[in-house]
Symmetry: C2
Subunit: 655 residues, 2 copies
Amino acid sequence: MPVRSDVIETDGRQRVVIEGVWPEIDAGRFPIKRVVGEPVVVEADVYGDGHDRVAGVLRWRHHAESAWRETRLEYVDNDRWRASFTPDALGRWCYTLVAWVDRFQSWAHDLAKRVAAGQDVRVDLLIGAELVAAAAARATGADAERLRAMATVLREGGDAAVALALGDELAQLMWRHADRRFATAYDRELCVVVDPERARFSAWYELFPRSTAREPGRHGTFADVMARLPYVRDLGFDVLYLPPIHPIGRSFRKGRNNSPTAAPGDPGSPWAIGGPEGGHTAIHPELGTLDDFRRLVARARDLGIAVALDLAFQCSPDHPYVREHPEWFRWRPDGTIQYAENPPKKYQDIYPFDFESDAWRPLWEELNRVVRFWIAQGVQIFRVDNPHTKPFAFWEWLIADIKRDHPEIIFLSEAFTRPKVMYRLAKLGFTQSYTYFAWRQTKQELTEYLTELTQTPVREFFRPNFWPNTPDILTEQLQRGGRPAFVTRLVLAATLSSNYGIYGPAFELLEHRPLEPGREEYLDSEKYEIKCWDWDSPTSLRELIARVNTIRRQHPALHSNERLRFHPVDNDQLIAYSKQSADGADLLLVVVNLDPQWRQSGWLTLPLAELGLPADAPFTVHDLLDNARYRWQGPTNYVELHPHERPAHIFLVQS
Amino acid sequence: MPVRSDVIETDGRQRVVIEGVWPEIDAGRFPIKRVVGEPVVVEADVYGDGHDRVAGVLRWRHHAESAWRETRLEYVDNDRWRASFTPDALGRWCYTLVAWVDRFQSWAHDLAKRVAAGQDVRVDLLIGAELVAAAAARATGADAERLRAMATVLREGGDAAVALALGDELAQLMWRHADRRFATAYDRELCVVVDPERARFSAWYELFPRSTAREPGRHGTFADVMARLPYVRDLGFDVLYLPPIHPIGRSFRKGRNNSPTAAPGDPGSPWAIGGPEGGHTAIHPELGTLDDFRRLVARARDLGIAVALDLAFQCSPDHPYVREHPEWFRWRPDGTIQYAENPPKKYQDIYPFDFESDAWRPLWEELNRVVRFWIAQGVQIFRVDNPHTKPFAFWEWLIADIKRDHPEIIFLSEAFTRPKVMYRLAKLGFTQSYTYFAWRQTKQELTEYLTELTQTPVREFFRPNFWPNTPDILTEQLQRGGRPAFVTRLVLAATLSSNYGIYGPAFELLEHRPLEPGREEYLDSEKYEIKCWDWDSPTSLRELIARVNTIRRQHPALHSNERLRFHPVDNDQLIAYSKQSADGADLLLVVVNLDPQWRQSGWLTLPLAELGLPADAPFTVHDLLDNARYRWQGPTNYVELHPHERPAHIFLVQS
């Protein structure tokens, strides 16, 4: 329906209230998130004074369009109304609501009651004729003509007039030409950021390019990474995330195992960005050239893999910015630059930017230029290092500015910090976010955390990305739990969250040695040295990972977290949950043994009716991991899992 | 602390976020409510990026003041902060928040850690000296001088400098002269409407003045009402609410029991307002004169009773407005004015105003004038008839406009309609509201309803007023439940809600005959005839009512609903709840037998620690209704209530 040009007056005759609009984050301060083709269902309380009927529309448009499109609000109950629209293009979309007292509907509703009571309705039909004639005056062309004719019929009265008054044709015409003079426009325009599908459904693989050489001791290159791409594709990942690929500083360079002094030949941490060869837009010479990098990105894309870069906005003391822009750093009274600290710890190899610098604006612009530089090389995904240590306003501006020109770009927030800060970063623009998943391990912890992420307003703006490990996080569970712990954490990450990732090949090779007991740092961490991995180890989890990623791709139920439901099992070591596709056709049930040591069994109860399963007939659960099939019947069925044989089920449920 | 004059810049260096502010209704669209002397506790999430410390203030002022007062925010947990202020005058008050990164506190906090780790802090002390010198430049007078001296000490270094740096004096001075250049001001100013104490704590008595004559058949007068005032005072009520006191229309006047035709001498409904003698600012001649009315108001005030008038914005066909302002009514095509209807029912004795009239503005002004007219006669409380059938915008404007000049005025909303509409009316200004109490009768219904009213955001804007009966509402429970039902509904209303009322003397005289079975209308309703009540009937509940109202007055626990708690009893016919005063000193426990027929008993469990009661020593519960005392011990104790002997306990709990 085209949008009306009526001027909506703000006057005392605007009798309709619109409130309780959902989704709406912080009174409209922040957008919600969707992917292309995903519906936005909008609800609101809409009501007026007295007993008159109200009517209204959801208005929506792409940010770049000026005209609103409209969808009629449908009544739910208790003064709640609903309508939806489905964005079909990337970028920002807007939505709002308009509602009004519908005098025609009120009149028709009352007329029906009067007729049913056998009252004389001659005067009422005359009142209706006035309403219809007024609509005719608002309409043009055939509608106007038809409405004029109908007003005449009403004026004449009798059974024909009553039939016309209560019929569909008049109702439709009166809806099209409703009297919106005193309509109430909701006082906020709300936003939805529409991202590519990969924002909601992605499988990430992180590797250090310098550790991809076939021969021990050699520094890996982009060419080596290219040779690894088929491996990554066969594992089923569609994002390849590379830690920083820039020149690494020499001053205060860290040695192996984070030693404060580097030995000759130690490569340093890739996060100590910047050297004589350049800074954030330069390539570490030993990795190759910018051309090599572009070739890698293109080849990956051919294999269905997007290369993700690391945005770590900090400098080594040797970064060109230190010389060219001393005003972007904080200076100490002794004439040195303030290095990173967490007193009493000192990180003298890293200079943070001073975002309170008077020159904050050129600094913002320059960092924006860095992002645009890499977009120009074909990069569409950025994993952002420690965004919570830079100002919120900076990220909001940067991400909005970039996405205005490049709505396809994905930013992953690497903020492991307090919950409100993590949610704030998501609200102000980050497409995906790291989470507390690594530390949510018991059934209760997982259930509570996933309920918060998927069943509260958080779901509208925070897209979780679950990582069982990262180069900084080797949980005690993985250190001690052996292969069963790796398998179950993989299955949990990959099925609880539609976005997940692993840091490999440490993960598939079951790397679990900590720097020291009680620490989550890896022993001989790749952050400080070049590794040569045994990619083809017979104990690798690569086949299982490939299987899980295939299941993810083939089953739409796993492409979102929207219909995640936990199901009771009478054993706290067994966790069970299902995901269902939007159309209900694809139903997966996952059962995981959280105990890496012992066989666990229990009775699992499913809400059959809610899941669309028969109450009184058997149904099949088909384990997509090992192809076993079981016939179940009724809501409660037996499950048993052995950590070393079969630590998890991923069931396809079929009735 | 006086307010600072710093200009708060909006720039990229504002690093602090203020969000999740509470109380805040609909993003600040509506005010919250308090009474004079009642604190406003404000909480917010306040945090910045990185690890710097943040600090902030709650700002607040009376609407009529231009300068803010400030109270420092105290940390609660999880990035939550809190401060409070206590309005000490009627009217609108505003509050908001300001917060900033506190570089001095961050520095001092880090310095303590460095010192503890035995690090060389000479450069750090120089950094501190710069911060202190900058504060000295912001300060004046003695503070500036002292800060300059302290900067010198810090510059000199050594143990004296460290002691100074970590001491209280410097912290206090630096707080007073904090660097607020990049402070974040919360982007909303929130409002609280501060009402007189009676807005929160009141006992209402409704009577029909025309039924106050001593002799049967005579029309009561204001003089008769004056003679009744000692009765009302002895019952313990402090608001006397009179149905409309204006001339009553003749056209289509209703007869006894709402008969469509009045017999000669039938007085008509007081809500059919307006006759040849005048309209909304006139007095029904048989009641007396305006002077008589003013005398009544003054005499009532001397007895501690406020007279409340009924604002029923509608007209009889004989109202002067019909002749003088035909544009304020809706005209039908047959040349008649649209009367009130609920098809197929017709109320031809009532003309509603047409608030969609082009002349809506003069109509609003005139109704405003009506309210001000009665305020000029000494009226301070209005019970508003059916506000939900007039536009929301009208009420918001009217109440705000009146309360701007007369902040002491109380408006009670008589909207028995859908929950969102009732809450909206409260949000937009009504001081108190009628509720669903009459129809909440089981333990579960009462518990759920009171929980909604007192434990959710509703408590901030909706002040319930509980009525067991009204001239329109005689519940089936009262029709059938006999004296025990009247007693228990009185005790529930008077103790669950700090505002309550009864329609008397029907209530105390146990009037319970319905017009017909299944209807809530009274037989021979006073709305359509003059009654002569047997005020001194020996079966009257007047002594019980007086006792309950005395208990209410004497016990601060019953002056608010803020600390209402329900307590489990293992018998669904027994409901138990406590209320406690703000200081905890006054603790009342109410137990009511909801069964009007049978003795009920059960075990009641109290959360002793939460209530400040001893876990391992006896305590006394003293029934203030009949002076019985019981020794209880431990959380669980026995209760037993007989409907005809003692249907309820109101215990004073003393340890």
